[in-house]
């Protein structure tokens, strides 16, 4: 007749019995493969470097294409400054201005009365 198990016996049996079975070898294999993949230099990181290099090259190419046009426009601006048009001031002797002055400027008689 065997002794009745206690809760400690049950917990000891649970704690010391290997919960893994033969069926878990697949899981262990997958874990090892996953770890190998984690440590392997990732193609994504290489791709990232290629993408970065491509972006730099593209930026340089765009800069080269755009740079001459910037030079041309700067030259055009410089030419513009050399042959600058004279500044045209507003005509102060216009009829509208005169009419405004007549309306609101008091005559000597009006001034006298004031």
């Amino acid at each position: 007749m065997t002794r009745k198990p206690t809760l400690d016996d049950a917990l000891a049996a649970w704690g010391t019995t290997d919960p893994l079975t033969a069926g878990d070898s697949g899981a262990l294999d997958r874990i090892l493969k996953h770890a190998d993949a984690v440590a392997a230099p990732s193609p994504a990181s290489r791709l990232r470097w290629w993408a970065l290099g491509g972006a730099v090259a593209a930026s340089a190419a765009i800069a080269l294409v755009v740079a001459p046009s910037i030079g041309v426009s700067q030259r055009q601006d410089a030419a513009g400054e050399a042959g600058a048009q004279p500044v045209i001031l507003a005509d102060a002797s216009g009829s509208e201005s005169a009419a405004f002055a007549l309306l609101y400027t008091p005559t000597t008689e009006e001034e006298y009365q004031l």
Binding site: A10, L11, W14, T16, P19, D24, R30, I31, L32
Partner: protein, 196 residues
């Protein structure tokens, strides 16, 4: 039967081959990392199955823990503690991750699949049967209680080591163990008459 991560493996008492492998892995040595994974995979999966009560979740947690082990190898400082304690904390963090906790644990009916005693002597078969019943009953416990029970009864850790693994206090571990044991006793209804 796996070799538990006991204090005998502690880096403070003897040169720890796992810590040496980790140091090499931190320097980018993939072969050292692969060797380390081969050493740790089986006990880690066993502990994760006990804690999570679900094989798929346990596999997922162990994979995540190994990913972190590779990425954070350089952060291990032997002056601050043993490799075993550091790794256990990492594994428990992954196993008790909140996102994983949202998924349901294995139902009690699945417990019949857990340990397969096979053609072993009667006592081993009895122990395997008892272990299966405890695993089934433990499936209904909160994960932290299961983790404390597994680390205490499975790996034979001290309160301090369990507290470090679960990032809590020794007092809290005592509470987890007491509540876990009480809940298990309640849940092991079919064994109640067998238990003294």
């Amino acid at each position: 039967m796996h070799a538990p991560l006991t204090p005998a493996n502690d880096a403070r008492t003897a040169p720890d081959p796992e810590a040496l492998l980790l140091r090499r892995a931190a320097g980018g040595d993939r072969r050292a990392y692969a060797e380390l994974v081969r050493l740790l995979a089986r006990p880690a999966l066993g502990l994760a199955v006990r804690v999570l009560g679900d094989r798929a979740l346990a596999e997922d947690a162990v994979q995540e823990a190994f990913t972190r082990l590779w990425r954070e190898a350089h952060r291990f400082d032997p002056a601050r503690g043993s490799f075993a304690g550091w790794w256990r904390r990492m594994l428990m963090n992954c196993a008790l991750d909140g996102r994983r906790r949202l998924r349901p644990a294995a139902p009690i009916e699945d417990a019949a699949e857990i340990p397969d005693a096979g053609p072993t002597p009667a006592r081993a078969a009895e122990a395997a049967d008892l272990a299966a019943r405890v695993q089934a009953a433990a499936a209904g416990l909160p994960e932290r209680q299961r983790a404390a029970l597994a680390l205490f009864h499975g790996d034979g850790l001290t309160m301090g080591e369990i507290a470090a693994a679960l990032e809590t206090s020794e007092k809290a571990v005592e509470g987890l163990l007491l509540r876990g044991r009480a809940a298990l006793k309640e849940r092991l209804t079919d064994l109640k008459d067998e238990l003294e």
